[in-house]
């Protein structure tokens, strides 16, 4: 038995990083919100019968635990610990509202999982309001074994939407770059994707040379990135399903900072083939490049407005890097770049909120590099973080959180912060560094 256990551990050691269902990234909630909504998520009932063929005595995934963890991570909810639950109802009709109100919860989530004869599952859940004593939302969702975690995230999204008024971003993915050392002490770079809670990590590319700047296609099927695999930076687009990669830009000099346009047809990128770092828009269908900037300064790190009407980029055409914006018309006509940031001597690597109202950036203050958010309408700049080497901010597709890279105990980790700076969490690898997070768009299916 012990031998078997050690063998399993050995397998984890070998395959651990890329196995699905294995949390390579672990999440610590470092700061919650005062006044988060108290909610109870009751373990879902399992209608599977005894140890007969193919059936099991417990559900294959603890859906309620995944939902509770999602809601807690958002910073908006305070799920009641399992041990404090005052009953195990699995349907609204079984709920003793008075008892749950006495526990101080505003809302209750109940549900059950039923295995079907064709091997699929039916997951049913209800979100109940304890004061009105009524159902706010309820669904039956058909799922497969390998999809049950995703089903749980979809349930979290529906609950979040019902109570917060905006769609949740739990059923989404993140992409990031990890750096570990192999047995010979050489660096190994991996480009990985995972669920938004760090589970189901899939390594889509491994290299002995640096990988950087992952950017999701809007349909979530491809990732653009920079690889130094052939000794210098080049831009690639890779299919997540097939793993097939296509080299997009390999000009002399820089081929960097790809950013997918909202319509999925173009990449904004940085090339230095015509002299120094300039922004271009690469048409993925035609393979043509349209030059956007023209000066002696560094222009890089383009990112699109959500409506595709222009880009924000980093430039040191003034003194030191600052953010600039430029309009790009449908016919390719471009406006004159105008400066967006004025507070502080270093503002770079913009990420624009999905509603276009906020711009997150790396902002230097008192010698530290922190994540700040600019409200475009008022020009108000709010510094969200307190660490000193923060970078690569990326908005969640519902605009609620910003994921970014930082340093913690001499290691590269990811962290997320709510746009109001009140909720925080940290995501770190079992070993090595993780950096350059990119939050996906909403899934389209």
């Amino acid at each position: 038995m012990k031998k078997y256990y050690r063998f399993v551990m050995f397998l984890f050691f070998i395959f651990g990083i890329s196995r699905t269902g294995f949390a390579a990234l672990t999440i610590d909630i470092t700061q919650g919100i005062d006044g988060a909504l108290p909610i109870a998520v009751v373990p879902f009932a399992w209608s599977g019968t005894g140890p007969t063929r193919g059936a099991s005595t417990s559900a294959p995934e603890d859906i309620a635990a995944i939902v509770a963890s999602d809601l807690r991570r958002s910073g908006r909810f305070a799920p009641v610990p399992k041990s404090d639950l005052v009953g195990r109802p699995s349907h609204g009709s079984q709920v003793n509202y008075t008892a749950w109100r006495a526990l101080g919860v505003d809302n209750l989530v109940v549900g059950h999982i039923t295995p079907l004869v064709d091997g699929t599952y039916e997951v049913q859940f209800q979100l109940l309001d304890m004061f009105k004593a009524e159902q706010l939302v309820g669904y039956k969702i058909r799922s497969r074994r390998s999809n049950l975690r995703r089903t749980a995230h979809q349930i979290s999204d529906l609950i979040y939407k019902a109570l917060m008024g905006v769609k949740g971003a739990f059923d989404t993915n993140i992409s990031y770059v990890t750096v570990t050392k192999n047995r010979r002490g050489q660096k190994v770079y991996r480009l990985a994707i995972a669920d938004s809670d760090g589970f189901n990590e899939k390594v889509i590319l491994e290299s002995s040379q640096p990988l950087m700047s992952p950017s999701w296609s809007p349909n979530g099927l491809q990732i653009a990135y920079v690889s130094f695999g052939r000794g210098r930076p080049e831009v690639y687009v890779q299919s997540i399903l097939t793993g097939q990669a296509k080299r997009i830009a390999s000009y002399p000099g820089l081929n960097n900072a790809p950013a997918w346009s909202p319509d999925g047809k173009k990449l904004a990128l940085t090339l230095s083939k015509d002299g120094n770092a300039e922004i271009y828009i690469h048409n993925l269908l035609r393979g043509t490049n349209q030059r956007i900037t023209r000066n002696n300064a560094i222009d890089t790190e383009p990112t699109w407005f959500p409506d595709g009407s222009g880009i924000i980029f980093t430039s040191d055409r003034g003194r030191g890097p600052q953010l600039y914006q430029v309009k790009i018309g449908a016919n390719g006509a471009r406006g004159r770049p105008s400066r967006l940031t004025f507070e502080g001597s270093y503002n770079a690597r913009a990420s624009i909120s999905p509603d276009g109202k906020f711009v997150a950036m790396v902002h230097r203050i008192e010698g530290s590099y922190r994540i700040a958010v600019l409200e475009r309408e008022t020009g108000y700049l709010r510094v969200l973080t307190e660490s000193r080497l923060d970078e690569s901010p990326s908005f969640a597709p519902n605009g609620s959180m910003i994921i970014y890279a930082t340093e913690y105990k001499n290691r590269g980790v990811l962290a997320a912060v709510s746009v109001d700076g009140r909720a925080r969490q940290r995501l770190q690898l079992n070993q090595g560094d993780v950096r350059e997070p990119a939050w996906s768009f909403f899934k389209q299916n």
């Binding site: 640096p210 820089l254 960097n256 230095s272 120094n276 040191d316 690597r349 590099y369 001499n410």
Partner: protein, 172 residues
């Protein structure tokens, strides 16, 4: 030959580190002189010394294959200028030689901006070499930004070693 040079490089880097980290004056003078030629060559050439000394000064400069930069700057310092000039003369006289100028940045700030900054540093070095008669075709510029640090610490003593352009000869 290559091994020898890398040892020299290592020694000069050690010398630099000793210079940065040490606070005691006695220690500093002791270590830099042991490390050799870090500071002497510049003064010798400038004060118009004899031909043999000139030559050894240039040899010292040639043995250095890394030049360093200030934060967020691609301005070539006077110390770097001398090293670059020695290599420029060497390349101009030996058109069969070619060099890769590898630009790097420290970890502060954003990664893509740092790749562009590393390129601008390497191009500043290239510019100086071309002015001194090196053919553009002898020079290749690559930037790794902050992706390949020479020192892995998170403070100025490491950062100052990482803001650099490395000169890598090939075809010799």
């Amino acid at each position: 030959m290559k091994k020898q040079l890398s040892i020299v490089l290592l020694i000069s880097v050690f010398g630099l580190m000793a210079g940065c980290s040490s606070t005691s004056k006695e220690d500093t003078t002791g270590e830099t002189s042991a490390a050799g030629s870090d500071k002497t060559s510049g003064a010798d050439v400038g004060s118009g010394s004899s031909a043999t000394e000139m030559k050894s000064g240039q040899q010292d400069a040639l043995s250095k294959r890394v030049v360093y930069f200030d934060f967020d700057s691609s301005d070539v310092t006077s110390e770097a200028r001398e090293i670059i000039s020695a290599h420029a003369q060497n390349l101009a006289q030996n058109s069969n030689l070619s060099v890769v100028l590898e630009g790097h940045a420290d970890e502060r700030g954003t990664r893509e901006y740092n790749v562009a900054l590393g390129e601008r540093r390497a191009k500043a070095v290239k510019q100086l070499m071309v002015v001194q008669g090196v053919q553009g075709s002898q020079i290749q510029v690559i930037s790794f930004g902050e992706e390949r640090p020479a020192a892995i610490g998170h403070d100025e003593s490491s950062w100052s070693l990482n803001r650099r352009v490395e000169l890598l000869y090939s075809g010799s």
